[in-house]
């Protein structure tokens, strides 16, 4: 049996790697990835993606950030009329929390003790800053230089931040393990598995 194919919409370059990992685990074949360059652009086009999802399975990842108190509220606001094959998931509060949820691997990757990484990343107000601050304490100079913005920088992240997040998502991140520490990730995996079942049982 071949795995069902699915199209993907994500905010940025680094989210693509994460989305692919999730879809591999949920046994989908990724057909196309639409990288949007920010949540505002994604929101603008959500209606079109949702329209297409009436016909093709679709996976959309969009950070919750501070845009709503909780994920369901934001879904209601952005996508009141969800198409049947649309899997619209919201990391709480940013995709970094899903990466931090794999405590063992992220601690090794960043070169910080696992005890420094909280057990409930979904509760973090700003997981991205938490991740960067962890990297600040890394024993690896390379990690610090890549991920932490230089002094006097206006940028919130270091020069190879995106590249490092992609590397981690691709090569080290274990979403299954991570889902034990992140409810929003566990729900996302469950939703993808359900969608897969629904699609394969139809054929």
């Amino acid at each position: 049996m071949t795995s069902p194919s699915i199209s993907v919409t994500v905010e940025g370059n680094s989210d693509e790697a994460l989305a692919r990992k999730l879809l591999e685990l949920a046994e989908f074949t990724v057909s196309y990835v639409y990288v949007q360059g920010g949540k505002d652009r994604l929101d603008e086009k959500l209606r079109a993606f949702n329209h297409a999802a009436k016909f093709t399975p679709w996976f959309v990842l969009r950070d919750l950030d501070q845009d709503a108190p909780c994920a369901p509220d934001l879904v209601k606001e952005l996508l009141p009329d969800r198409a049947v094959n649309m899997c619209f998931r919201i990391p709480v509060r940013t995709a970094e929390s899903w990466l931090l949820a794999d405590r063992k691997n992220i601690s090794q990757f960043l070169g910080v003790p696992m005890s420094k990484i909280g057990a409930n990343p979904d509760d973090l107000d700003d997981p991205k800053t938490v991740l960067i601050n962890l990297a600040r304490k890394s024993k690896s100079k390379q990690i610090r230089e890549d991920i932490v913005p230089p002094t006097n920088a206006v940028a919130r992240v270091g020069p190879a931040y995106v590249s490092r997040i992609i590397e981690f998502s691709n090569e080290y991140w274990d979403p299954r393990k991570a889902s034990k520490n992140s409810k929003s990730l566990a729900k996302c995996l469950l939703a993808l598995e359900k969608l897969n079942q629904a699609l394969t049982s139809k054929t």
């Binding site: 940025g12 370059n13 990288v35 360059g37 920010g38 390379q142 230089e145 890549d146 913005p149 230089p150 006097n152 920088a153 206006v154 940028a155 919130r156 992240v157 270091g158 020069p159 190879a160 931040y161 995106v162 590249s163 992609i166």
Partner: protein
């Protein structure tokens, strides 16, 4: 080993430039705002220091002082180039002021070298005063005169500039025949001259990257034909197995440009100057360029200065406003601003916009929409 500061006066279309330089520098501006002219300062320094070059030649190949001097320079006839370099725990400063004499020959008006603030060279000196012919050369280019500051002469020599023109790789007969042609005319020659082991290891890494970026790309080899001309050969997996290898004249512009870029990234650790590396490349490839440069810089300390019009390239959130220069033409000259020094830019970035969102609209020509009328002009 990199440039940390640049000051210019009356250089081409810049009356005055005074900017700190980071390990990555992104030059952004409208067409003809002088992005290439700014990069040319570093090529000029290289040309002076080059064994086959020298000051006279570097100016002559740019068609003389009058072409180099800003048209709006009236009160200050000297062209001034002043660079600061961090190298092996020393801070060097090289300053060159020049003009032309009555015979229109380029003449050094002032040349100074500082190391950690100590004066290593200060011209004109007594000899220059007694023999003004000496001022037709810099000490940078003279082995017997630059002993005290040889490291910076060597540093300048190694500066690399690349602006691959795929047509020249395919058809090297069209190129000028120069060695180290930045436009790719002797690109394949450069490759075959490498020690075999280095070449193989680099090609292996390049193939790894090309496989990611170019669908169905499989293998890459370099060999000489019976006449001794080097050729690249690529194998694509979707082709019929007996379809054989494709040679470089069948490679696409994008493949050749990417190949050239990857090659030059691996080649050396001296500053690298790139013109619009995004040309012919898919945007999904382009948006990964800043990440490559960040890692390259971290590993080897290599400095990369590039010009770009690409929103994709500038969308990388790891690009800091300190790394981005805006070139804004005025009626007099072109003004270079570090993006982080502009308050409005800072506020927009703090508000969550990307560098691309903020910087590109500011470099668009003000009435560019009128261009569409051109379609009616016949």
């Amino acid at each position: 080993m990199r440039f940390t500061h640049l000051k210019l006066e009356n250089w081409r279309n810049f009356l005055k430039v005074d900017v700190p330089l980071q390990r990555r520098v992104f030059l952004v501006g409208p067409n003809a705002s002088g992005k290439s002219n700014l990069l040319d300062v570093f090529r000029f320094l290289r040309d002076i220091a080059d064994d086959q070059g020298g000051f006279q030649r570097a100016v002559k190949s740019r068609r003389g002082v009058s072409k180099l001097r800003s048209l709006h320079a009236r009160r200050y006839p000297n062209i001034v180039i002043d660079v600061t370099i961090e190298m092996e725990a020393h801070t060097w400063n090289y300053r060159l002021e020049f003009t032309q004499d009555n015979l229109r020959r380029p003449i050094v008006s002032k040349e100074t070298v500082l190391r950690n603030g100590d004066v290593m060279l200060d011209r004109p000196n007594d000899q220059d005063v007694s023999d003004s012919e000496l001022l037709t050369q810099t000490h940078l280019e003279q082995i017997n005169a630059n002993k005290e500051f040889r490291p910076i002469a060597d540093f300048f020599k190694k500066i690399r500039y690349l602006h691959i023109v795929p047509q020249l790789i395919r058809d090297p007969d069209r190129s000028s025949g120069m060695q180290g042609d930045p436009f790719g005319g002797d690109f394949l020659e450069q490759l075959v001259r490498m020690p075999k082991k280095t070449l193989q290891s680099r090609l292996r890494r390049i193939v790894g990257a090309l496989k990611v970026a170019v669908p169905n790309f499989d293998e890459l080899e370099l060999e000489r034909d019976e006449r001794g001309t080097p050729h690249l050969k690529g194998l694509y997996s979707h082709w019929r197995p007996d379809a054989g290898w494709q040679s470089e004249d069948q490679f696409s512009d994008g493949t050749l440009r990417l190949l050239g870029l990857l090659w030059v990234f691996l080649d050396g650790t001296a500053p690298l100057l790139l013109e619009e590396p995004e040309l012919s490349l898919h945007y999904a490839v382009v948006r990964n360029i800043p990440g490559i440069l960040a890692r390259l810089g971290r590993r080897t300390g290599r400095q990369v200065m590039l010009s770009t019009h690409s929103a994709e390239l500038l969308a990388d959130e790891g690009i800091d406003a300190n790394e981005v220069f805006l070139l804004r033409p005025t009626t007099e000259d072109t003004v270079v601003t570090v993006a982080s020094h502009d308050l409005e830019i800072r506020h927009l970035l703090e508000g969550g916009l990307s560098i691309a969102d903020v910087v590109l609209p500011r470099t668009a020509p003000p009435v560019v929409q009128q261009l569409t009328l051109f379609g009616d002009s016949l």
